[in-house]
């Protein structure tokens, strides 16, 4: 399933990229995500909990980040095994931070998600809604993180 999302934010591209390209910071901002251990330069171990309607799906697995600092783009691959017979989840996301003329930036995230098991069965039709809500929460947290940074940077 393809999920295409994007948002604009009133902050310089370099600052936004600095957060989005740091897996630990990213996981703190993404609702339900957790990074537990670094395996190598590009790969981390972690978990993800998603609530879809009456279901809570918890996955553990790996996530890898291939970063292109020049283009401020990333390819993120996540592979999760669900707990309690929940099935599996795989995601490949291409994200990019592009500077806008007004000094802000635009973030685009195109994902290809494959889910098996109960979440795929019951989540159909809700997945888009859930991913949009997660993104809204993410943008909210990102905005406040950037504001906090800006406040800390003030003398």
């Amino acid at each position: 399933m393809r999920i295409e999302e994007g948002f604009t934010i009133d902050a310089p591209a370099a600052e936004v990229w600095a957060i989005l390209s740091d897996p630990r910071q990213l996981s703190e901002l993404l609702p339900g995500a957790e990074i537990t251990e670094r395996i190598d330069d590009t790969t981390w171990e972690g978990g993800m909990t998603v609530k879809v309607g009456p279901l809570v799906a918890a996955y553990t697995g790996t996530v890898s980040f291939m970063l292109n600092e020049e283009e401020r783009s990333a390819v993120v691959r996540a592979l999760g095994q669900g707990k309690a017979g929940m099935g599996t989840a795989e995601m490949t996301m291409n994200s990019r931070v592009a500077a806008l003329p007004d000094g802000g930036c635009e973030v685009t995230m195109d994902s290809d998600v494959t889910v098996t098991g109960i979440l795929a069965q019951l989540g159909r039709g809700m997945t888009q809604v859930v991913s949009r809500r997660m993104l809204q929460e993410f943008v909210k947290r990102l905005t406040s993180a950037l504001e906090n940074e800006a406040k800390e940077a003030e003398p």
Binding site: T114, T116, G117, L122
Partner: protein, 788 residues
């Protein structure tokens, strides 16, 4: 037709209230989940979340730590007893529990046995299974491509995913008819995978007594005797012997064919009881039921009709791909891998027909149960009735008129169909006339023309089906070699009351009432005094069970024959009591009288008492009879359904405004029950026509695995059904009756589909696959530029 018996006797033709209903209506039914045995354990099943993959490991350690969990059974455990595989009714094989590979989502992977249902469920959640997913084969057409991976590597000699090829008819002669025809029409259609969705899911309580080696299985099964024999055949090597197996089918909350096959859950529960020496209960929850078993249909059909320029049908050609999922575990007679699909020529006379079906394996659960259908008759009728409409539109004739012009005339019965059936009786024009009159067909066509001129979308759909049911004559019909006869044992007690036992098993059909009425009709005992029992293999005579509308054609006939044997003996007793010869007796229901002296009479009750107290010399005491009835032919009920739909141009929603169903099932045993059967069947016809489908995504996920997504019709979607009937008795059935339970499920979907297509025909639409959901219609409306 006026009943032959009085209301006190309540034989055939009386709308007797159902004898079973007081206990159902008062919540006093005895269903599988009501059965609780001392020391009983619970079983719950770990199921595969993926459609295809290797099992790298199963870790039960955390599950065994859950309080109350006693054991976790895996395929490896069953392998030790050689019980990890089982045969299907179609002589294919199926895993009970896998040892290394899972083949479909929701497949049984392991079983947790615990002291309570809750502990078992907690145990299931704690079992950790490590899978290595593989790319599943979901599309049946791709399954047959050369580079498709072979799924059944366990089967020796299996080099592709084809299960079998079946054909009927003369291909060459049919091709020739098509070459010479003025008109050829063609329609490709899919009758999708649907689910029986009965109100009660599947389950069992297996109770093995290790001291006596006796196994009792209380089970949701439509065919308890066949199950007992299958158990004896497949589990003989672990010490089960048929005389020590008792299968009891208690009250069943709807079967519809879904409770004919043997599912792994039953076998695991039995194995667990044998291993543990304790009763073990297994009950599916709703989602397990919707995801793992009881699937029907899934036929992809290409149908062609050859006709003269005026629409006279000359030939039919159908090419079919049947998606059976992981195993051919459908329930069909052994010699009929594609069921009775060859009924596809339907109500129409034609020179030649040829039908072929290829069955394939895919990574879906095993499918193909005969959901309220006499083995693929639903698919065959849908196919024919749709393409007949396509022909009508092509030659510019009214679809009702085109049907009438092609009907097998009533003088032609018994009729030999080009695909080999001998239709017993029919008067198709009479049913059509009655349906047209009831719905006011010509007025509706006028209304449609006016509405069409205003841009409103209204359609009228016609379906004139012929069914083939009551399997079946032993020369053709068997399941695993067991002939498809059925049986009745009737025993009249000294006080003139009776018990009647049958080899079938009601799942809501009302056998306790209708069988009693059959005995009442033949013996003149009040139906209220006839106790009917089914479902216990220790007491009921052997029979093949209830499905395919076979109960009245087979066991009902056996009941009538047994009653006649009893009446013959009663006549000897009556002659003895009145000191006349048998030839001097007249019979009217319930009474023998002396010819010419009608005041000298004895009742059947008098004869019953005398059978135990005052017998003529040389006559064996008692008054009972057993009959095993091997039907000489199947029965061919028919009917015409006409419905009217309105389509909302804004939303694409289809509303069934009126639906008239005229059925002919021969002589009627209980008109109220027949009407109830038709109402239920029509509702289970509107479901697949407009709402129901089990779709899978490309990864093999079941996308309608709960009632959130699998939409069964409720009273809100169901129109007020209008029913009528004609009566054309079966010439070979002892009571002139035919089966009826499935006619409406078969006839309703094409009537509704035809109505929707009829509403859109002027826009160039010739076909829509069922279920015809609002989004499908909305897309067509947009494509044709008529959406509001």
């Amino acid at each position: 037709m006026a009943p032959k018996t009085s209301a006190d006797i309540c034989g055939m033709g009386h709308s007797m209230k159902r004898k079973e209903d007081p206990r159902f209506l008062q919540g006093k039914g005895n269903y599988i989940d009501d059965i609780v045995l001392p020391g009983m354990l619970w079983l719950d099943i770990v199921r595969s979340p993926i459609a295809y993959g290797k099992i790298k490991g199963i870790d039960s350690s955390k599950a065994l730590e859950v309080p109350g969990v006693l054991a976790v059974l895996t395929g490896k455990d069953l392998e030790a007893y050689n019980l990890h595989w089982m045969p299907t009714l179609m002589s294919d094989t199926q895993m009970v529990l896998p040892t290394d590979t899972v083949m479909y989502q929701a497949q049984e992977v392991a079983a947790v046995i615990a002291t309570s249902r809750y502990a078992a469920a907690d145990g299931v959640a704690a079992v950790e299974v490590d899978y290595e997913p593989m790319k599943p084969v979901i599309d049946p057409f791709k399954a047959l491509e050369e580079d498709a991976p072979v799924l059944r590597t366990d089967k020796e000699g299996q080099t592709d995913n084809r299960i079998w090829h079946w054909e009927a008819g003369d291909k060459e002669a049919t091709d020739k008819v098509f070459e010479e025809a003025d008109v050829v029409v063609r329609e490709s259609m899919h009758v999708p995978r649907i689910h029986v969705a009965s109100i009660e899911t599947c389950g069992c309580v297996a109770d093995f007594n290790p001291v006596e080696g006796h196994l009792t299985v209380y089970m949701t099964t439509q065919a308890p005797h066949a199950i007992r024999t299958v158990l004896a055949l497949v589990a003989g090597h672990v010490g089960l012997s048929e005389e020590k197996i008792r299968v009891v089918s208690p009250d069943i909350g709807g079967g519809f064919g879904g409770k004919v096959p043997v599912y792994p859950g039953y076998v695991v529960a039995i194995a667990a009881s044998v291993v543990l020496g304790k009763p073990v209960k297994w009950i599916e929850d709703r989602m397990e039921n919707l995801q793992a078993d009881s699937f029907a249909r899934d036929y992809h059909m290409d149908a062609e009709l050859a006709a003269d320029a005026d629409g006279k049908i000359r030939g039919l050609r159908i090419k079919t791909l049947a998606d059976h999922g992981y195993s051919d575990a459908q329930a069909a007679p052994s010699k009929f891998p594609a069921g009775l699909f060859s009924i596809c020529t339907g109500s129409y006379d034609m020179e030649q027909a040829y039908a072929e079906v290829d069955a394939v394996y895919t990574n879906k659960p095993p499918g193909g149960v005969a959901y309220r259908c006499s083995f693929r008759v639903t698919e065959a009728v849908h196919c024919m009735e749709r393409v007949v409409d396509t022909l009508a539109h092509k030659v510019g004739k009214d679809p009702a008129q085109l049907r009438e012009e092609n009907f097998i005339p009533k003088e032609a019965f018994p009729y030999q169909s080009p695909l080999g059936w001998e239709y017993d009786s029919g008067d198709y024009q009479a049913a059509m006339d009655k349906a047209r009159e009831m719905i006011g067909y010509d007025d509706l066509r006028r209304e449609q023309a006016e509405k069409r001129a205003r841009g409103e979308l209204m359609g009228i759909g016609v379906c004139s089906f012929t069914e083939v049911l009551g399997a079946g004559p032993s020369k053709d019909f068997d399941i695993l070699g067991i002939k498809m006869f059925d049986s009745a044992e009737v025993r009249v007690h000294p006080t003139g009351k009776a018990i009647a036992r049958f080899g079938t098993k009601s799942q809501g059909q009302g056998h306790e009432t209708t069988y009693a009425q059959i005995i009442a009709e033949e013996l003149g005992l009040p139906a209220a005094h006839v106790q009917v029992e089914e479902g216990d293999t220790d007491t009921a005579p052997y029979g093949l069970g209830t499905y395919a509308s076979r109960s009245t054609p087979t066991a009902g006939a056996a009941g009538a024959m047994a009653a006649r044997q009893i009446r013959a003996k009663a006549a000897k007793i009556a002659a003895h009591l009145m000191e006349v010869s048998e030839e001097d007796l007249d019979w009217e229901p319930g009474k023998f009288s002396v010819k010419g002296a009608p005041d000298r009479s004895v009742t059947i009750q008098d004869c019953a008492f005398a059978a135990y107290t005052n017998l003529p010399e040389g006559l064996e005491p008692g008054l009972e009879a057993t009959n095993y009835y091997d039907p000489p032919n199947l029965t061919f009920p028919f009917g015409t359904y006409i419905c009217v739909v309105d389509i909302d141009r804004g939303t694409g929603e289809v509303t069934v405004r009126r639906f008239v169903a005229v059925d002919d099932c021969g002589n009627i045993i209980n008109p109220m029950i027949v009407q109830g059967q038709i109402h239920g069947g029509l509702t289970q016809g509107i479901g697949p026509a407009l709402f129901e489908e089990i779709p899978y995504d490309e990864d093999g996920n079941n996308l309608a695995g709960s009632f959130m997504d699998y939409l069964v019709p409720t009273s809100m979607e169901t129109p007020a059904w209008e029913t009528g009937h004609t009566i054309t008795p079966s010439p070979h059935h002892p009571l002139g009756a035919k089966g009826v339970g499935e006619s409406a499920t078969v006839g309703a979907p094409p009537a509704i589909a035809n109505a929707v297509v009829d509403a859109l025909a002027h826009l160039g639409v010739t076909h829509l696959d069922i279920p015809i959901t609002p989004d499908k219609v909305w897309e067509v409306l947009n494509e044709k530029g008529v959406a509001e």
